[in-house]
Amino acid sequence: MVDQAQIKKRSSSVAKLLICVGLGAVFVPPTVIILGVGMVPTFVARFANPNRVRGTVAAMAAFNLAGIVPVLGILYDRGHTIEQAFRLLSDVYMWLMMYGGAGMAAFLLWGVPLVVQGGYEMQARQYIKRLEKRRSRMIEEWGGQIVADAKILPANPDAPAAKGTPDK
C-alpha cells in the first residue's frame, strides 16, 4: 500500500513537472532551454541516486539551480531569445557556472558526512574513556566481586539507553 502511494505521489510530481516544462516551452522557450541543459546533473542525480537518501537530490537541485540563476539573469539581461540562449550555451564559463554548482553539491554530499562521522567517532572514544574510568573507580570502591556479581545479575531493564548511538 505504501509503495503504491509513493509511486502515485511520484508520478503526480513528474506530471506536474512535465506540465510546467510544457507551459515553459510554449511561453518562455529560452529559459526552458537553459534550465533543461543546466539541470542535467540534477536529473542524473535524480535517476542515478545510489543510496536513495532523502535530500540528496534536493541539495543537488538547489546547488545546481544556484549556478543556473546567474546564467538566466544574463539571458534576460541580454535579451530573452532562443538565439541568445544558444549563444550563452556556447560559452564555457556559463557551463562552468551551471555545472560547478552541481559539482559543489556532489562534493558537499560526499564530504560533510565524512566530517560528521569523524566527529562522532571522536565523541564515542571520549565517552568510552569516561565510562571505563568510572568502571575502574567502581571496581576500586566495590572490589572485584562486583565484576562477577554483575555477570550473575540480569541486566537492568530500566537502565537508560547507552548514549553511544547518536540518533539523528
Partner: protein, 673 residues
C-alpha cells in the same frame, strides 16, 4: 594488702600452700593442702581445693559455716582463691585433724567399748544436729572419723561439703534407696541414709574390714534385697546383743522402720530398744521366672531385668510381669501402669533396641520405685542426677551418652510422671528422682540440643547450681557466677589477643542458666543460622549486655575478641570506603573497653543494610556502564549511518542557502534598486 600478697589467699586470711600437699586428706578428686592462718598462727588448718567440674554441696555450706557443729571438723571459710593469672579455684578451709584417723584399714577392728561409748555418741550428735537443720552428711564412714588432737581426746567427723553427697562412700554404706546408683548419682538422701551409714560404719569399725569386701555393688545390693542388710553384714562380726540391737535398728532396709533421730537420742541416753531386723525387699507369695531364675522380690526382678533388657522386654511383652504384679504382689495400680508402658501408650522413641531399653527402664522404675532409676549405663537415686551429669562430663564416657539419650527420649520424664501419680493419701509430692519442673526443663533443653545455650550442658548447669563453668576456654579456672566468668574470659582473651571462643557450648549454657534475663536472647539466637551475620552480632550483643549487667569494668581483652569476630563481618561490606570507615570506628571504639559501645559506635547492622542496598545500585550501574561501553564499541556502523544522514542534511541546508544567495545576488546584480 597488695594484690600480689592476696594471691593464694582466701579472704585475706587463709594462705593456701600449694607446695605442701596433704594427700591423706584428699577428698575424692579434691586435693588437700596445708593452710597458713595469717591472723592466728595457732590454727592448724588444711584446704580442700575443689577439682574442675566437681559439684560441691552448696546447699549445706552456708548452714555449716553459719553455725558450728560439734564433733564435725570445722569449716572455717570457703570461696574462690586466685593462684595467679587465670588460675582461680574454689577452696574449703577446715580444721586439720592432727590426731589422724580413728580407724585405719588393715589394722584390725576397734573395741566395742570405744566404738559404742566414744565414737557413736559423737556421730549421733552430728546426725541429730544435721537432722534438726534438715541437712544430711552423707560422708559417714569409718575412714572419715578423726582425732582432732595428738592426745586423741577429741573425735570429729570429716568434711562432707566438697563432693557430691555419698560419692565417696563405699557401696556397702549406701541404703537400698541409693545402693544401686553410680557413686556420683547417689543423691543427698535423708537423715535415714546417714543413720544407715552409721550402722555400716559400726560394722566396719568392729569387724576391721570393709563389710562385703570382695563383692561388687550390684552383688551387695542383690544380697541386701534378698536377705536384708542386717543378715548380710552383721553375722560376720563379733557383736554383743547391745550392738546387735543397735545394728538391727540402724540397718533396717525399710526407712520407715529404721531407727529415727528420736530413737537414737533415747539410745544415746541409755534407753535401749529391741528392734526386729529387716529382711530385705517385700516377697510375693508366688515366683516369676526370668532367665531360669525364680524371683519373689519385685526389686530383685527389676535389677535382673536391667541386666538383660532384651530378654526382659520379651518377658514384658508376654504380659507375665503385669499379671505377676497384679496377682502375686496384689498391686493393681502398678500392674496397670506396667500394662500402659508395654502397650506403648507412652511415648517411646527410636529403634527396636531403644524401645526395649525404654520399656524396661520404665517398668524397672515401677517395680523399684524407691531405688535408683536405671537407663543403660546410668543409675541414679533421687536428687542424684546433677552429680552424675557432672561426673559424666568429667569422664566423658558412655554414661554421658546414656544420660543424653535418657533425657531427650523423655523416658525419665514419663517415669517421673508415673512415679508422682503414685500419690500417697491423696497428696502429690514432687520428690521423685528429679523434680518435675527441672526434668521438664531438661527435656525442652534436649529438644534444642544442637543450639547454643541448650542441650546436655544446659541440663548440667541447671541441675548443679554450685558447679563452675566447665568450658575448655577457662582451662579449669573456677567461675561460679557470670561476673567471675566474664573476668576470667577477659583475662584469657587479653592473653591470647582475643583469639578465644568465649561463647562455646559450655559458657553459653552456663550464662543461660545463671542469667535468666538472657533467655529471650538465647531463644532468638536459636532461630538464626550459626554462620549468619545476625548470629554473630547477636552473640556480641549478648556479651555486651552481660558486661553492662554483670561486670561493667573495661574489657580490652573481650573487645579484642569482638574485633577478631567482627573483622570477617566487616570485610563483607562491599564498599571499601564504608569498610575503612567502619574499621576506623571499630579501632576508636575499642579504646572504650565496652562491647556494647563498640556495637553502637560501628552500627554494623545499619551499615551492612545500607551497603547492601548501595551495592545493588552499584551492580545495576556497573551493568549499565558495561552495556554502554559495549554499545559504543559495536556502534561504528550506526554512527556511520547517522553521520551520513546528518552530513547530507547539512549539505542540503548549505545548498538551499547557496540557492537563496544566488537568487539574492542575481537580483541585486541584474535588477538593482
Amino acid at each position: 594488702m597488695s594484690g600480689a600478697d592476696e594471691q593464694g589467699t582466701l579472704r585475706g586470711r587463709y594462705k593456701v600452700l600449694l607446695q605442701q600437699p596433704l594427700p591423706q586428706y584428699d577428698s575424692g578428686e579434691n586435693k588437700a593442702y596445708k593452710v597458713e592462718d595469717l591472723r592466728d598462727s595457732n590454727n592448724i588448718l588444711y584446704a580442700l581445693v575443689v577439682g574442675d567440674g566437681v559439684p560441691f554441696r552448696d546447699d549445706i555450706v552456708e548452714p555449716l559455716t553459719s553455725r558450728n557443729t560439734p564433733s564435725l571438723t570445722s569449716l572455717h571459710s570457703h570461696g574462690v582463691v586466685h593462684f595467679g593469672n587465670t588460675d582461680y579455684r574454689y577452696v574449703f578451709v577446715h580444721d586439720m585433724p592432727v590426731g589422724g584417723r580413728v580407724f585405719e584399714e588393715g589394722q584390725g577392728g576397734l573395741s566395742e567399748q570405744q566404738v559404742l561409748n566414744v565414737i557413736v555418741p559423737k556421730l549421733v550428735d552430728v546426725i541429730i544436729n544435721f537432722a534438726s537443720r534438715e541437712l544430711t552428711h552423707r560422708n559417714i564412714r569409718a575412714d572419715n572419723v578423726f582425732y582432732m588432737d595428738n592426745e586423741k581426746a577429741g573425735i570429729a567427723l570429716g568434711e562432707c561439703v566438697s563432693c557430691p553427697p555419698g560419692s565417696l562412700q563405699p557401696a556397702v554404706y549406701e541404703p537400698l534407696e541409693s545402693a544401686n546408683a553410680l557413686a556420683d548419682g547417689r543423691g543427698p538422701g535423708t537423715v535415714m541414709s546417714d543413720i544407715y551409714a552409721l550402722g555400716v560404719m559400726i560394722v566396719h569399725m568392729l569387724g576391721g574390714v570393709l563389710p562385703g569386701e570382695g563383692r561388687t555393688a550390684t552383688e551387695l545390693y542383690a544380697l541386701k534385697l534378698a536377705h536384708g542388710s542386717y543378715a548380710v553384714l552383721v553375722p560376720k562380726i563379733p557383736a554383743s546383743s547391745r550392738v546387735g540391737f543397735l545394728l538391727a535398728g540402724l540397718l533396717n532396709d525399710d526407712p520407715s522402720r529404721r531407727w529415727n533421730t528420736e530413737v537414737l537420742i533415747r539410745w544415746r541416753d541409755g534407753v535401749y530398744e529391741r528392734p526386729r531386723p529387716g529382711f530385705g525387699d517385700r516377697q510375693a507369695p508366688g515366683p516369676i521366672i526370668f532367665e531360669g531364675e525364680e524371683y519373689l522380690s519385685p526389686r530383685l526382678l527389676s535389677l535382673a531385668m536391667t541386666k538383660k533388657p532384651a530378654q526382659a522386654y520379651i518377658l514384658l511383652e508376654g504380659g507375665k510381669v503385669e499379671s505377676w504384679v497384679r496377682n502375686s504382689l496384689n498391686d493393681k495400680d502398678a500392674s496397670a501402669r506396667i500394662a500402659d508402658t508395654i502397650s506403648g501408650r507412652m511415648r517411646i522413641s527410636g529403634g527396636a533396641r531403644r524401645r526395649e531399653l525404654q520399656c524396661v527402664s520404665r517398668v524397672s522404675a515401677i517395680l523399684d520405685n524407691t531405688g535408683a532409676f536405671w537407663y543403660r549405663e546410668v543409675t541414679f537415686s533421687r536428687g542424684g542426677l546433677g552429680g552424675l551429669i557432672a561426673h559424666a562430663f568429667r569422664s566423658d564416657g558412655p554414661v554421658k551418652t546414656a544420660i543424653a539419650e535418657m533425657l531427650e527420649s523423655g523416658v525419665l520424664l514419663d517415669a517421673i510422671y508415673v512415679d508422682l501419680d503414685r500419690s500417697e493419701a491423696g497428696r502429690r509430692k514432687d520428690n521423685s528422682w528429679v523434680t518435675l519442673g527441672r526434668i521438664t526443663d531438661c527435656y525442652e533443653f534436649m529438644e534444642k540440643r544442637d543450639l547454643l545455650g541448650f542441650g546436655l550442658e544446659r541440663c548440667l548447669y541447671e541441675l548443679n547450681p554450685s558447679i563452675s563453668c566447665m568450658s575448655s576456654t577457662l582451662q579449669g579456672a573456677y567461675a561460679k557466677d557470670v561476673e567471675k566468668l566474664m573476668d576470667i574470659l577477659e583475662e584469657r582473651a587479653f592473653k591470647l589477643d582475643g583469639k578465644i571462643n568465649p561463647l562455646d557450648r559450655h559458657t553459653a549454657a552456663f550464662i543461660a542458666t545463671r542469667t535468666k534475663t538472657l533467655t529471650k536472647n538465647f531463644q532468638k539466637l536459636s532461630s538464626l543460622a550459626p554462620d549468619s551475620v545476625a548470629y554473630t552480632i547477636m552473640l556480641i550483643e549478648m556479651m555486651g549486655r552481660l558486661q553492662n549487667a554483670k561486670s561493667p569494668s573495661p574489657k580490652p581483652g573481650l573487645c579484642m575478641w569482638v574485633q577478631v569476630v567482627l573483622k570477617p563481618v566487616i570485610k563483607k561490606i562491599h564498599s571499601s570506603i564504608r569498610r575503612e570507615f567502619v574499621l576506623k570506628k571499630l579501632e576508636n571504639a575499642m579504646e572504650s573497653g565496652n562491647i556494647d559501645r563498640i556495637l553502637k559506635e560501628i552500627d554494623l547492622e545499619n551499615n551492612l543494610r545500607r551497603d547492601s542496598s548501595e551495592y545493588e545500585q552499584a551492580i545495576k550501574e556497573f551493568i549499565d556502564i558495561n552495556t554502554g561501553i559495549q554499545s559504543l564499541e559495536n556502534g561504528g556502523k550506526a554512527r556511520a549511518y547517522a553521520a551520513k544522514k546528518y552530513g547530507q542534511w547539512i549539505a542540503s541546508v548549505i545548498s538551499i542557502a547557496a540557492l537563496l544567495s544566488s537568487f539574492g545576488f542575481s537580483y541585486l546584480h541584474f535588477v538593482g534598486f
